[in-house]
């Protein structure tokens, strides 16, 4: 069950990479990276359970925060209208 969920999340990450490479506008790419980030959080939590080491959850928390901060940073510094 856990391995099936891990594989599914891995497939979702590959789809996000495809969108990031082929996205026509900038915002498609930012969206793809954001989705990749949340999938990474889930992947790390699942891998922690699969491998029996619950310390990975710290990494998942850090990554959720860093993902948020990166997306906010990108959006703040990509304002082209001002």
């Amino acid at each position: 069950m856990l391995t099936a969920a891990t594989l599914a999340i891995f497939v979702a990450m590959i789809l996000a990479i495809i969108r990031c490479i082929a996205g026509p506008t900038l915002y498609d790419r930012i969206l793809a990276v954001n989705m990749f980030g949340t999938k990474t959080v889930l992947l790390i939590s699942l891998l922690g359970f699969v491998m029996g080491r619950p310390e990975f959850l710290d990494i998942a928390i850090v990554y959720a925060l860093i993902n948020f901060i990166s997306v906010i940073g990108v959006l703040r510094y990509s304002d082209t209208s001002k």
Partner: protein
């Protein structure tokens, strides 16, 4: 019993995540893609974390999973909001005529969105 329930949660969550990924590839416009990703991402993450919570043994692990769940519920919608607001502010217009014909969609993508 608990294992069956957590298995259902995990499978539902992963199905939602994969369908969000497929939506990211197949939807025609940025704003529709953002709908797909924003909704399914948060909900799928919630289900997967719920499934993991049912599988875990010690209290510390459950507490950390609750923290991740609360963070995801708080951060996910905020990110969607900020993305949409910035895209609108910078001039990316949504495709409004509901023709899912690929020709019109390609033309609208070229003229409407600034190809940055």
């Amino acid at each position: 019993m608990i294992i069956i329930f957590s298995g259902i949660c995990l499978l539902t969550g992963s199905f939602l995540c994969v369908s969000g990924g497929i939506g990211l590839l197949r939807f025609p416009d940025f704003y529709t893609r953002m709908h797909a990703v924003g909704v399914t991402d948060t909900l799928g993450a919630g289900f997967i974390l719920l499934g993991l919570m049912l599988l875990s043994t010690s209290f510390l692990v459950i507490a950390k999973l609750v923290i991740i769940l609360l963070l995801t519920l708080l951060i996910g919608p905020t990110t969607s909001h900020v993305l949409a607001k910035t895209a609108m502010h910078n001039g990316l217009k949504p495709v409004l005529n509901q023709a899912l014909n690929s020709n019109t969609v390609e033309k609208n993508k070229e003229t409407g969105s600034s190809g940055s």
